[in-house]
């Protein structure tokens, strides 16, 4: 179906638009921000947002929509910014995305919508992510953070449990409450938001945003229960049999730390990224001694890995007072899976990058604390299945460097608890739950989406999966359980 081109509110002739420079988002100074946990990016001003929106050339075939995993109507919301109707722009995004203030901050736009922006072919692409963030923040500040409807729909009488409050769970909850179902979110931790609160640090994604999103959902009738582990506090079967739920959505994420299996990984001072970031973010280690979570202030902290997790960990270590904080990565910068902006910010903040280096052993002192890392130098070989060039060890290149803190950030696995306690749920060899396109699992009435199905991926994909599953749950309730009012 051909999409309707949005009405244009851009007064500037197309040719002239291409001469407008991409608007830089104000940021905290690197030498100041590397000593605090406040947000690095400060957001576009209203004027900047309008100028940036005016850079859009309103393509006939807007490839940006195709570049977005949830097909946000990008040209439409951009025109609404040109019109300076920021609330309408926010609502336009909310039609396709439940968490724009989050995605505007953490989506890898450079490899999605902005990568295929037509302006970007010859000039710098339109800063779609920054615009998304701007309108989402504007809407939150102007009391329309909810973005969608405010009237409560007729209750259907159907009860749905959501397990996990990450982006997948929150998106599913948002769509299901809209339909009038009774929705309860169960969360194992003491804060809601999944990785968005326990993994991604305050300086990149302020917790207040998540709290607002959760409060919005609560206002709309979603019930939130924390410190409650499905599979331990209560089994999945009991949710159906004892609590009377009609359907369950599993958005459990991939929170199981993976280690490298090299000698010395259990020395003191060697953390998984998960533990390190959770201590800092969720347990407010960064607020010590105000909060009672000690975190080591290292002389030399090394973080092993090249993804967003590694960047978050290294920038956290730096902020916690590490004299030197380094990324140690087997490949080169080109192969790093982290967002470009995170790499750029980390460098600005004084993080050192030791690329083409791989630790093969951690060495401890007599107290069992890590004091050194034995590493190998690598060179790049042929590309692997992901298209990234493969690192190959250089024979005889071993060297030892002093370190007193190590964070392993090479990847995460899925938590096996639900699979272990619910044999009806099929999982694959890596422990991910097997679900079809709509999130249906092997167990009737149980749907799943996000990292627990795909393995570690992105916020937007998790959110999209939660929304797809919500649609499928509606359909399921209509056909299997009885008609939805």
């Amino acid at each position: 179906m051909d999409r309707q081109k949005p009405e244009s509110f851009n007064p500037i002739p197309v040719k002239e638009r291409l001469t407008i420079p991409r608007q830089n988002m104000p940021e905290q100074d690197p030498n100041i921000r590397n000593g605090n946990f406040l947000e690095v990016n400060l957001g576009l001003t209203e004027d900047q947002a309008v100028i940036e929106a005016q850079r859009c050339i309103e393509c006939k075939k807007p490839t940006c929509i195709e570049g977005c995993p949830v097909s946000i109507q990008i040209p439409d919301f951009i025109q609404l910014i040109c019109k300076q109707d920021f609330l309408a722009a926010a609502n336009k995004i909310k039609e396709d995305s439940s968490l724009p203030a989050v995605c505007g901050r953490v989506c890898p736009q450079e490899s999605q919508c902005e990568a295929v922006c037509v302006v970007g072919k010859r000039f710098e692409s339109v800063a779609i992510g920054r615009l998304e963030r701007f309108v989402a923040d504007y809407a939150m500040q102007h009391g329309n953070g909810d973005g969608s409807q405010s009237n409560r729909p007729e209750p259907t009488g159907h009860k749905i449990a959501i397990v996990g409050s990450g982006p997948a769970g929150l998106a599913a909850a948002s769509d299901l409450i809209k339909e009038g179902h009774e929705v309860t979110v169960y969360e194992a931790l003491h804060e809601f938001g999944g990785v968005l609160v326990y993994g991604i640090p305050e300086f990149r994604l302020p917790k207040a945003i998540l709290r607002k999103e959760v409060a919005n959902l609560e206002n709309r009738g979603v019930k939130f229960i924390k410190n409650f582990i499905i599979g331990r506090s209560m089994t999945l079967q009991e949710l159906f049999e004892e609590e009377g739920f009609d359907a369950v959505f599993l958005g459990l994420g991939a929170g199981l730390p993976r280690f490298m299996n090299i000698p010395g990984e259990n020395l003191n001072g060697v953390y998984s990224a998960n533990e390190f970031l959770t201590r800092s973010n969720l347990m407010r280690g960064y607020d010590f001694p105000e909060w009672d979570t000690p975190l080591y202030r290292a002389k030399h902290a090394i973080i092993v890995g090249g993804g967003n997790t590694a960047m978050d960990a290294v920038r956290t270590a730096k902020r916690l007072g590490a004299e030197e904080a380094s990324i140690v990565y087997r490949r080169s910068e080109e192969e790093m899976p982290a967002r470009n902006e995170e790499i750029h910010h980390a460098k600005e903040e004084g993080v050192a990058f030791m690329n083409l280096v791989n630790p093969i052993e951690f060495i401890g002192d007599e107290n069992g604390s890590v004091v050194a890392a034995k590493c190998l130098r690598m060179e790049l070989g042929e590309p692997d299945a992901s298209g990234r060039r493969r690192p190959v060890p250089i024979e005889g290149s071993e060297f030892i460097m002093e370190v007193d803190m190590v964070v392993i950030a090479v990847g995460n696995g899925s938590n096996p608890l639900i699979a272990q306690t619910t044999p009806e749920i099929e999982t694959n060899k890596w422990g991910n739950i097997v679900a079809d396109e709509d999130g249906q699992t092997s167990m009737e009435g149980v749907f799943a989406g996000g990292d627990i199905v795909t393995g570690g991926a992105t916020v937007i994909l998790a959110m999209g999966a939660g929304r797809k599953a919500a649609t499928a749950i509606n359909q399921y309730l209509k056909t299997k359980v009885g008609s939805v009012a």
Binding site: I262, P393, T427
Partner: protein
Amino acid sequence: MSLKDKISSMNMSEIVEMCIDQEQQAIDLYTMAMDQAKDDAARQKFQELVDMETVHKVSLKSFEIERYIDLPPADLKVTDYLMEPTMNDNLTTQEILIVAAKREDKTAKMYQDLADHFSADKKLNTFFQMMADEELRHKHDLESEYEQEFLPEG
């Protein structure tokens, strides 16, 4: 005593017995991994490995094996520096892949030593060289899988 020296002191039937024993250990490991695997793709993968090692066992009786045209892919050495988990029934998939890749590496080295040992015998030399290549191919596959799943950000 190095494997090379050991080989020099063995007669042909002892050599074959050593090779068959090595292949049987691999078959046992992959059968265990297959029983543990929860999805069809994994089971299939381990079944393939069991089948191949079984072919090796049979080939060792006739010293004939189908020739691959391609040379084995480069050795990734991903698991070379990792700790070898001790065998038990509760190995994780990560540990199974490490054990398996290290086993393929050792077996490849054994066949390479045998190929060198029989350098004057064209048939045996070619046979053991092809067996060594086969095992390196397996190691490559296992390490690729390991990288994809256990080092996505590494």
